[in-house]
């Protein structure tokens, strides 16, 4: 074997990001006794599953998968979620916001309000039910200002709360996942990825995605400067005009607050091309619930949101 090429190999940026994420997942496996990986069927968590494969195969994942279902998810996404878990042969736990509503721990102000923020309650209930000491999630620091300062290993108290002024210092790659019973560590292996990195990784790894990430025809209405899909849970209001448009989703979450963008990108390569020239940030374009105030994410995180 030749050793000539050995001396100065530098990892490409995707290899570096992947390698960091694998290292983080293995630290969770090494340090925590009962972790769980949050898997929604969205693109970030799809990358997380590939990273988990790279981290732990040919062994099983040292954690189950958990989805907190708002009951307002696109069928394409939940079907994909179930299929992917089966293909991997890993255990999928689904806990539903609607069960929390039935228990009375989630109380909606109005029947059609977005349920994203209520996921915190159901997540905390699942953490308690299974005694998870760490939750691995696919959040990224580039998504939102308040996330830019969050640690990779982020400590939450017994109420699931994040205190931005009381974060553990995080140095080098020496992560501290220690917690007492009832407390919890949230871990974000792809903290340092951008939306663009995620798409590049999906292309490189040839990862399958739910179909609604690609351009498709869908009835929509225009509301408050954005596009709103017309569905059973989000009907058109009186006076609104329903149009059939070619759209795709950049994020997939609760139907009531996840808006598509107009696009004819029908492949990952074309989405990358569009993302490279896009002029609107991911959350700005597609998360109606984050527009309420500049500080809304920070507020939600303090309340235990992922």
């Amino acid at each position: 074997m030749s050793t000539a090429t050995l001396s100065k190999v530098t990892l490409s940026h995707l290899d570096w990001l992947e390698s960091e994420a694998i290292h983080i997942m293995r630290e969770v496996a090494g340090q925590c006794s009962n972790p769980v990986l949050l898997f929604s069927g969205g693109k970030d968590s799809i990358c997380m599953l590939r990273i988990a494969e790279k981290a732990f195969r040919p062994g099983r994942f040292p954690f189950p998968l958990l989805h907190v279902d708002t009951g307002h998810n696109y069928r394409e996404v939940t079907d994909f979620r179930d299929r992917r878990a089966t293909e991997l042969g890993e255990r999928l736990i689904v806990r539903s916001v609607e069960d929390s509503m039935a228990r009375g721990t989630v109380v909606l102000k109005t029947a059609d309000e977005p349920r994203n923020k209520h996921q915190s309650v159901t997540l905390l209930e699942a953490i308690e039910e299974f005694g998870f000491d760490a939750c691995i999630g696919g959040a990224r620091r580039d998504e939102e200002k308040a996330r830019a300062k969050e640690r990779i290993f982020s400590f939450r108290d017994e109420f699931g709360q994040w205190d931005p002024k009381n974060q553990r210092p995080e140095l080098w790659d020496l992560y501290n996942a220690r917690s007492f019973k009832g407390e919890n560590i949230r871990v974000f292996p792809i903290s340092n990825w951008t939306e663009f990195d995620v798409w590049q990784y999906i292309e490189r790894e040839n990862l399958a995605l739910p179909s609604i990430y690609f351009a498709h025809r869908r009835p929509i209405v225009r509301r408050a400067g954005g596009l709103l899909p017309v569905t059973e849970v989000t009907p058109a209001r009186p006076g609104e005009t329903v149009e059939e448009l070619m759209v795709r989703f950049r994020t997939v979450g609760d139907i009531t607050c996840t808006a598509p963008v107009e696009s004819d990108a029908d492949s990952v390569a074309r989405i990358i091309a569009e993302t490279a020239v896009t002029t609107i940030t991911e959350r700005g374009a597609t998360r109606l619930d984050d527009q309420t105030s500049d500080a809304s994410m920070e507020q939600r995180k303090k309340e235990g949101y992922f």
């Binding site: 490409s12 140095l171 700005g284």
Partner: protein, 429 residues
């Protein structure tokens, strides 16, 4: 065994990733500099720009305040200062950058130490009107202490000194005077105006007398951190994979040692030694998800298979035979104390080094460093933001290198088991 494939890294025309740190106070225009980098590299998107335009107008400013881009948390927005390390991202198409934005105030030494721990380059901001200040020395000392190999001194606000080359030359001379005494090897100086965008990405029209590189050119050309010096191979074991799958004979005796290469490189066939047992073997395979790699390089996460059956667990270290680290139950280190509770010499702490934990007790404080004067002072306790030369006695041996030679195996953190907080950061001397 499956066919050996080429490393994917060789197929991608990509200059990797560079992590850098910006240090300076609010008044030096640090946030404006970062805003400028993001703005001129076309990283800022329309809705974000609209938001800061609105805020700038609301505050009665006549130009867009790019510093608003890096304002993160509510508390900071109210106080108008940065209170914690924030991370920002941009890419030039050939390189991805991670900026660690550390606050400059004295009480936030721990934030700068945190940000510096992962940085390959530091940008130290100086206000051209004020020249080299105490905080400049402090930032430079910390950058040097944390082993950042490249320092760029950004002499900002040149517009406020009429773009004077004399002012720039004076500051350069002042800085070199004390940098030489600190032992900082690679320093470059750039005159700039972050506000007007001179010498950041574009050269601008105002600094015609300066013929050195722009900040962007320096960032694009700095060598990757592990590519500069020969390094010894260090592989702390994070996790052991034993599928014990009886239905698959290939996996029946599979033992994969999982971890990330902290430094150096490894080839299939290399002779290795496992610590602490001292057992020797050869590398049978280097794997990642069903693929076999011919070699593993620094910062790469892989799974190693060895030719012999050796009992290895998390916390052990695999090194090349003949390149052993120091195996010791005593460490001498520079320690930065990060906690509001002072270091208590009577208490036991947990010391975490690579993937290995050991109980630790303070054996002595040689001196405390006044980071403003850089004087060494006697000390019998340490409080938050103190930096001192200390020694610890350990219950278990660690496998360490001097921090100056290897950050990955020269660094440790101290954990207080009563709170589980990370309370100290150490660099082995």
């Amino acid at each position: 065994m499956s066919a050996i494939e080429k490393l994917p890294t060789e197929a991608i025309p990509d200059n990797g990733l560079l992590r850098f740190l910006t240090c300076g106070s609010v008044d030096d225009g640090k946030s404006t500099l970062i805003g400028r980098l993001l703005f001129d590299s076309k990283t800022i998107l329309a809705d974000t720009l609209h938001a800061i335009q609105r805020t700038s107008a609301k505050r009665g400013l006549d130009i867009v305040d790019l510093s608003l881009l890096t304002d993160g948390l509510q508390a900071e927005r109210e106080q108008g200062i940065t209170i914690d390390v924030a991370y920002r991202y941009f890419t030039t198409g050939t390189r991805k950058y991670i900026i660690a934005d550390a606050p400059g105030h004295e009480q936030y030494t721990r934030n700068m130490v945190t940000a510096a721990s992962t940085a390959d380059l530091a940008i130290i901001l100086i206000d051209a009107r004020k020249g080299v200040l105490t905080q400049t020395r402090r930032h430079s000392y910390l950058a040097h202490l944390l082993g950042i190999p490249h320092v760029v001194v950004a002499v900002n606000k040149m517009d406020l000194v009429d773009y004077s080359s004399e002012a720039f030359a004076r500051i350069t001379a002042d800085y070199l005077d004390f940098a030489g005494r600190l032992g900082i090897a690679d320093v470059r100086f750039i005159p700039m105006s972050a506000l007007h965008g001179d010498m950041i990405v574009e050269r601008g029209k105002n600094l015609h007398w300066y013929d050195g590189p722009t900040l962007f050119e320096i960032l694009e050309n700095v060598p990757a951190i592990h590519a500069e010096h020969a390094e010894r191979f260090r592989f702390p074991v994070q996790y052991v994979c034993r599928p014990q799958d009886s239905s698959n004979p290939e996996l029946h005796d599979y033992r994969g040692f999982m971890g990330r290469v902290e430094s150096g490189e490894l080839l299939i066939g290399d002779a290795v030694t496992v610590l602490p047992s001292g057992r020797e073997s050869r590398v049978k395979d280097i794997r990642i998800l069903g693929r076999s790699l011919p070699h593993a390089v620094a910062e790469q996460s892989v799974t190693l298979l060895l030719a012999d059956e050796i009992d290895i667990s998390r916390g052990d270290m695999i090194v090349k035979s003949g390149e052993l680290p120091q195996i010791s139950k005593q460490v001498d280190a520079m320690l930065c104390w990060l906690s509001e509770s002072p270091l208590d010499p009577r208490r036991k702490y947990l010391l975490r080094h690579t993937t290995r934990d050991s109980k630790a007790m303070l054996a002595g404080i040689a001196f405390r460093v006044d980071i403003n004067t850089l004087e060494q002072q006697p000390a019998d306790r340490l409080v938050m933001n103190d930096i001192a030369r200390v020694s610890f006695k350990l219950a278990q041996p660690i496998f360490a290198d001097p921090y100056a030679e290897s950050r990955g195996t020269g660094a440790f953190i101290v954990i207080d088991e009563s709170s589980n907080n990370t309370v100290g950061a150490g660099m082995i001397v």
